[in-house]
Amino acid sequence: MNNSESLKYLGLLILLGPLLGAILAGALGPRVLRGATHWVSILGVATAFVGAILVFGAVRGFAPGVTGAIAPVYDWLPTGGSSYFRFEFLFDPLTAIMLLTVTGVSLLVVIYSRDYMREHDHPEQGYERFFAFLALFVASMCLLVLGGNFVMLYAGWELVGLCSYLLIGFYYSKPSAAAAAKKAFLVNRIGDFGFGLAILLIYLFFGTVDYSKVFEMARHGVIANGAPFTPELATTISLLLLCGACGKSAQIPLYVWLPDAMEGPTPVSALIHAATMVTAGIYMIARCGVIFVASPTAMTVVAIIGAATALFAATIALVQTDVKRILAYSTISQLGFMVLGLGVYAADSAIFHLFTHAFFKALLFLGAGSVMHAMSGVIDVRHFSGLRKVLPVTYATFLIGALALAGFPMLSGFFSKDVILHHALHVRPFLGFLGIVTAAFTAFYTFRMVFLTFHGPLKLPEGVHAHESGKWMLVPLVVLSVGAIGAGYLGVEALGSPLTRFISPVFESTFGAAAKHMELGEAAEHAGFWGEYGLMIASGAIAIAGILSAYVVYVRQPWIPGLVRASAMGLHRTLWNKYYVDEAYNDAIVEPLRQTGSVCVALDDYLIDGLLWFVTAIPRALGFLLRTMQTGLLHTYAVTMVAGVALIVLWITW
């Protein structure tokens, strides 16, 4: 089909554009391009963005009833015989939306980084390295969402993990950055272990790793040899996949790497650790919906993990003082919302939230970067306040992002969070209730951060000459704030919800069918005015209440936080230390393993080696015995020889 051929080249364009940018930045950056290195990356990422728009157009133009197209590129891994794991692309609405989000935000972040990665207009050390890695990340992320089978998904999955590793460790001379990078990679590896096993199971039972074939079989409830696709198998595979998603999308219990990842440069936090890479887990669960919905158990686990993570991370965010870390916990919490959405069969809403979240969270991180830039690298709210006067544009855009995150009515976060809560309350009321509590916390901690940073009397860290950032940084902020305001309207039902309508065909036969089967859709449709808008009004009120209470506590009556802290010392300390999870992991897993390693070495050196020496001692002893006969004296040899000949003669003549 001609269409598939042109789609193949489109996919290659999206991959190779940023990849070429990365290679050029890496190869020519240090010697030739130097301070202009950002151009190759910007051009590369812009190519991908244009490609993503074209893909969007192409997918919209699919004939009715066609949800996706596969474009094979080449045979990658032979699996014995003439079958291969192919390098192939899948184009469908989900891919198109993901591509648009990823390349769009990436483009803005790359542009932003041009100024951010300079000090006093001189490129920081490693400037070209930064842009090379960033472009490489965009290529890897596009590979992840473009891939047409599980092995390619895994490949993209690992490659974005690599870029994340390289970028978190960008300031590698800082031991904390190097440690954070390693932690991120390793925690993700634990997730990948589950993901990899899931792929092996899929190949073992379905005989293929192609999305289309696997999902087709799963939809009909069979596996390769015609046997039924049992719920037990579905549960096993789903939970293993979920393990991978928990790693990449920072869910309990594998979320611990994301807060530390803030050691990376802020644009990286905005792009990789907020808007794009961390949503890969959401994408994966959404993509594999048919496997997940085959197992009600797995869906329950997904929903619980999502709701628990959302609440858990939000409580930690209440007391942190590092703006980037607050935002990191907020990201974990929002990802929890998306996972909750998936768990309550509202995949289109989860993707919708992913889409809006990309705008306002990237905006918030870039805003924090702008503050950090002005404060010469300080980002702790205890060291500055009242910045709205010195950083007006940053303040305005940051405020928009914060309102969107807090779920302030009529901004993007409001709409997308609302649909998830709506579904959650219908399917799992208790988890939905947890979601509402989380939403209240979200509004509170977000505005705690805003008020502490931008309100109150002007206070600057010592020796800092604060200044508003330049155009390269402000333009992306403004563009993103337009998105943070407007993106939500793409999913508003009253306006025809173009985004959810575009994407829902992908989920029709998976999440949608399952929801219908459980008669969830019916309930939602016949809910009447209060059923439909009651929650919206309530959640808007909760957001405003959260913002107001933050205003009271941190602006009007600033003595309250100290009093609360003093009266609940234990709780505060627990939250401040993030529930001691890092310490627990270290004591319960890392240290015992290392000690086992030491034991293994001791075993190796003494027990096993000793035994082996003992065994090899037999030939050596034999050699020692024979050596005593090799005296070198001619007459002993002669005597032995004569004796030997005599023996032989005797034996023959006997």
Partner: protein
């Protein structure tokens, strides 16, 4: 002209084995040049096999064999070596000429051995080149040893005669023993002795196996036949009863398992690696260890298929234990080189797992893993050597933050670390992933093939090795490359003319390896397709096609089926043709 060339190419393997040998002899003869010219001529002599092996690759893939030649192996050559029989005319013993021995200088390659040949021919010149500044004493003798080692290794991969194989296999010990014992580190004598004794002990058993096998062929065929092809056909056709296979497999495995090394026979390796000179470590890890896995793949599995199936679970368990155990050992090492050495043992556990899945995909992946491991671990040993040349220490606590002064080193160390921990689009992933796929699907009965011996229960613990592999490698990178700069006093040592960061020579060596890693990661099918064919033709003939596993309860009624299966794969005909 073209046909003349084609015929000439049929002798290319002999030329490949002989060039380093001739080079070694010429280096020893007068006129003796200075160190500089010795180094250069040794490099030149080691480059010739590389060029020749690439020509062999060209002919292997793009030229059909001359008419009449068997298609399983290419570039066959046979020169009678130890012969004799009723005819007494120095012709090779056969069914018509019984009573003698069929032992010949018999060489030929299939895709499996061809790629290992190329690996050897690639790694040796790079290793020699890497030692240009590191080796300053007895330069001539050193290079003679390297060339002899290369010749022996190339010989092993070309051999199609069991005795020839064994001679080359054992001969590799001598130059490597000298390399460790003379040009090694502080504990070189102990390391060399340990290496020698351990590996020799193992191969004594293998020798016993070879001798018994020779006797056995005599008792069955009426003459001693050590043609590997014939032995494989014998084994596959069931001509060797199970109890004989059982013992023979153990005897062969003893020698090979120590070489691999399979847990718990690995304790000689960390010491040998740490004490060996850099080039020695590169060849030791890159090629020499593959003699063990190659031995299993070329001899033990195809010749004793029933015993291989019988022992596979045991080997699998040892491989899995080895993967985890040595990974944990690697994690707590202070010596970078020892860390890489332990990682090497851990990785080869994967290779063994693939081979003993006894499925085409698993064995193919195992072979691919051998090549991969040679490239990435070889490169890691080179990098450790380059660090050692500058800092005279390998203590992970004594050096740190090298990324700042040595960006090239950082780039390559991270690159090969990623290759080693299986990052997709690099070579390591392909081997690792396909090994696991092979092991996982080992028991699945597809297109009428019998269930293999391994399965998911081996995959799950083995896959934790992937996590642990990342743990220790990234830990090492973090300590050596990142954090604040730490250097021992009075270093880096630039007295030898080495630049602070890697020099052009070092960059060129590593770039060559890096390109191979990237290429194999992106287009593994180039190699894997042909290896798959060879595995089908020469390794898993009966084990996959069902000539062996007939449930004992119904085997009495199913004899016809077995005969049918044997006819289908032409084993009887091939047995006859080889016997003649």
């Amino acid at each position: 002209m073209v046909s003349y060339l084609t015929n000439l190419v049929e002798g290319i393997l002999t030329a490949i084995i002989l060039t380093p040998l001739i080079g070694a002899i010429l280096l020893m003869l007068p006129p003796r040049g200075d160190d500089r010219s010795v180094r250069r001529s040794a490099l030149a002599f080691s480059l010739i096999p590389l060029v020749l092996s690439l020509i062999a690759v060209y002919f292997f893939y793009w030229k059909s064999p001359p008419a009449g030649a068997a298609s399983n192996y290419r570039f066959l050559q046979e020169v009678p070596w130890i012969v004799g029989g009723a005819a007494h005319d120095r012709t090779i013993a056969s069914a018509e000429n019984p009573g003698g021995l069929n032992i010949a200088f018999r060489v030929g390659v299939d895709a499996i051995s061809l790629w290992l040949l190329v690996l050897t021919a690639l790694l040796t010149p790079l290793a020699i080149w890497s030692g240009f500044t590191a080796v300053r004493e007895r330069v001539r003798e050193y290079h003679v040893c390297m060339l002899l080692l290369e010749a022996a290794l190339l010989g092993v991969f070309c051999s199609l005669d069991l005795l020839l194989f064994y001679v080359f296999f054992e001969f590799t010990l001598i130059p490597l023993f000298l390399l460790i014992g003379i040009w090694g580190g502080h504990e070189r004598r102990r390391a060399a002795m340990k290496f020698f004794i351990f590996t020799l002990t193992g191969s004594v058993f293998t020798l016993a196996g070879v001798i018994y096998l020779a006797y056995y062929t005599y008792s069955v065929l009426g003459f001693v036949n050590l043609d590997i092809r014939a032995l494989i056909v014998m084994g596959q056709s069931g001509a060797i009863p199970f109890h004989v296979q059982w013992w023979l497999f153990l005897a062969f495995a003893a020698g090979f398992a120590i070489k691999v090394p399979l847990f718990p026979l690995h304790t000689w390796l960390p010491l040998a690696h740490t004490e060996a000179p850099t080039a020695g470590s590169v060849i030791l890890a890159g090629v020499l260890l593959k003699l063990g896995t190659y031995g299993f793949c070329r001899l033990a599995i195809p010749m004793f298929p029933d015993a291989a199936r019988h022992w596979a679970p045991a080997v699998g368990v040892l491989a899995v234990i080895g993967i985890i155990y040595t990974a944990l050992c690697a994690w707590v090492q202070r010596d970078v080189k020892k860390l890489v050495a332990y990682s090497s043992v851990s990785h080869l556990g994967f290779c063994m797992l693939g081979l003993f899945s006894l499925k085409v995909i698993g064995v193919t992946a195992g072979v691919f893993y051998m090549v991969n491991h040679g490239l990435s671990t070889g490169a890691l040993f080179l990098l450790v050597g380059f660090i050692y040349e500058r800092y005279h220490t390998r203590d992970i606590h004594a050096i740190g933050g090298l990324a700042k002064p040595m960006p090239w080193l950082a780039f390559f160390l991270v690159f090969f670390t990623l290759s080693s921990i299986g990052l997709p689009m690099l070579n390591g992933f392909v081997g690792e992933f396909l090994v696991l796929v092979g092991t996982a699907t080992s028991q699945s009965v597809s297109d009428g093939r019998p269930a293999g011996p391994l399965g998911l229960s081996y995959v799950v613990p083995a896959a934790t090795g992937i996590i642990l592999g990342a743990v220790y490698m990234l830990w090492m990178c973090q300590r050596v490359l990142f954090g604040p700069l730490t250097e021992p006093p009075h270093t880096p040592d630039t007295s030898t003319g080495l630049p602070r960061d890697l020099g052009r020579r070092e960059i060129a060596i590593l770039t060559a390896l890096a390109i191979c890693c990237l290429f194999l990661g992106l287009f593994p099918a180039m190699i894997l397709d042909s290896v798959t064919n060879s595995v089908r033709q020469n390794v898993l003939i009966g084990t996959e096609r069902g000539a062996v596993t007939v449930p004992p309860a119904i085997s009495g009624q199913n004899d016809g089926l077995v005969v049918e299966a044997r006819r289908e794969i032409g084993i009887d005909q091939r047995l006859e043709s080889v016997g003649q």
